[in-house]
Amino acid sequence: MASPFSINGGACVAMVGKDCVAIACDLRLGLQSMTVSNNFPKIFSYGNVYLGLTGLATDVSTVSDLFRYKVNMYRLREERSISPQTMANLVSTSLYEKRFGPYFVSPVVAGINHTTGKPFICGFDSIGCIDFAKDFIVSGTASDQLFGTCEGLWEPDLEPEDLFETVSQALLNAVDRDALSGWGAHVYIIEKDKVTKRLLKGRQD
């Protein structure tokens, strides 16, 4: 039996730029080696915070819905939208609640903190250990490949357009070397008062 993390396949990456962040994912949904959908986005938005989820597809859906509920409840109680840092802690504690029967997902959080104006990204393991990174976060079945491309292409203080090119090339070239990821991509470039979502056409094989 394959690992639950690699049954459906998928990849996600987030990067920090100059006063901006990027988060991108592929669109494949598979059952082992068979592709069943080429329109399965793995990034979900919660106000101005973005959550990428790779891993077992059923858990991706469940967890994304769970956080929609939790973030909505937060907004109603607090009468303000959630900051990326708070979101990170919410993800962490929620995953740890399931310490001994985890969701098989590797989440990535990206956003700009509207109080400080600073970009923020982080990643998690499936039981909520947070990885605060200053450069980039990768997750999914193409994570090895993404580490290679990101480490090779990323540089500090990229402007939004350059960050878009960097994150797109990093993702596209990584998923082309992973049989379980690919089939197009979604890329979000998040600036302080603007979010640009682009749909990339990748290799269809």
């Binding site: 290679g148 090779g152 797109s168 596209l172 056409k201």
Partner: protein, 264 residues
């Protein structure tokens, strides 16, 4: 007590002896618990240009989480005149199980030397590549546990590079990464050497954009890419680091360079 040591044929025991005859069949055969392979980590990388070929490898040797040595080369000169490899025109990198690597390197080196002694001319890279495949396949059922990359200059003086799996299937390529960090380096190479996923700006609208065509890169550029690839792999893979050794084949012969990598 003493009497019990002596078999009594008249006793009620249905067996004359203390053991049953079936004991002698020795049916439970014990299995080997010896595993003849290990992984010594590290990564290698080869890129060709118009009139040169570069083979590079890090110099770390590991077993598990331990570092055996910070300087254990895995790129070799093939067909040299003495043990220093002087006069070699082919280079070979072997990553995986280091003991098989050394054995295979010695074997191919001998073959290439014997070829020269017997035929009075240097073995071509193409012939050497085919011979290496044969050697690897000859151990199909007890393989050399290595990923090999062979490089040199072809009959037209252009960079030639062949990559292999452990049992000898091979192909000629422009570039190839092998070993522990191959999965990190290879997509970077696709992008920076073969320009994969890159398009010519303004060459068309949307899906009509023309892909950027790959062309051989100049040597300075290739050396820069190799260093970039290895510093990146060192950063993210624990089995890669310590030093970067490069063998560069040109018409003049084989040059060697060394560049320190992080040792953590």
């Amino acid at each position: 007590m003493a009497s019990s040591l002596i078999a009594d044929p008249t006793s009620s025991s249905h067996n004359l002896y203390s053991f049953s005859p079936s004991d002698q069949t020795a049916s439970d055969i014990r299995q080997h618990s010896f595993y003849p392979y290990t992984d010594n980590g590290g990564s290698t990388l080869g890129i060709t240009g118009n009139d040169f070929a570069i083979l590079a490898g890090d110099t770390r040797s590991t077993s598990g989480y331990s570092i055996n040595s910070r300087y254990a080369p895995k790129v070799y000169r093939i067909g040299g005149e003495d043990e220093t490899g002087e006069g070699a025109h082919i280079v070979l990198s072997l990553v995986g199980y280091a003991a098989d690597g050394t054995a295979l390197q010695e074997r191919l080196n001998t073959v290439v030397k014997m070829y020269k002694y017997q035929h009075g001319k240097r073995m071509t890279v193409k012939a050497c590549a085919q011979r290496l495949a044969t050697i690897l396949y000859s151990k199909r059922f007890f393989p050399y546990y290595v990923q090999a990359i062979l490089a040199g200059l072809d009959e037209d003086g252009r960079g030639a590079l062949y990559s292999y799996d452990p049992v000898g299937s091979y192909e000629r390529e422009q570039c190839r990464a092998a070993g522990a960090a191959a999965s990190l380096i290879m997509p970077f190479l696709d992008n920076q050497v073969n320009f994969k996923n890159q398009y010519m700006p303004g060459s068309g609208e949307g899906h009509d954009l023309h892909a950027k065509q790959a062309e051989p890169l100049p040597r300075q550029e290739v050396e820069r890419l190799v260093k970039d690839a290895f510093t990146s792999a060192t950063e993210r893979h624990i089995e890669v680091g310590d030093g970067l050794q490069m063998l560069i084949v040109t018409a003049k012969g084989v040059e060697e360079t060394f560049y320190p990598l992080k040792r953590d």
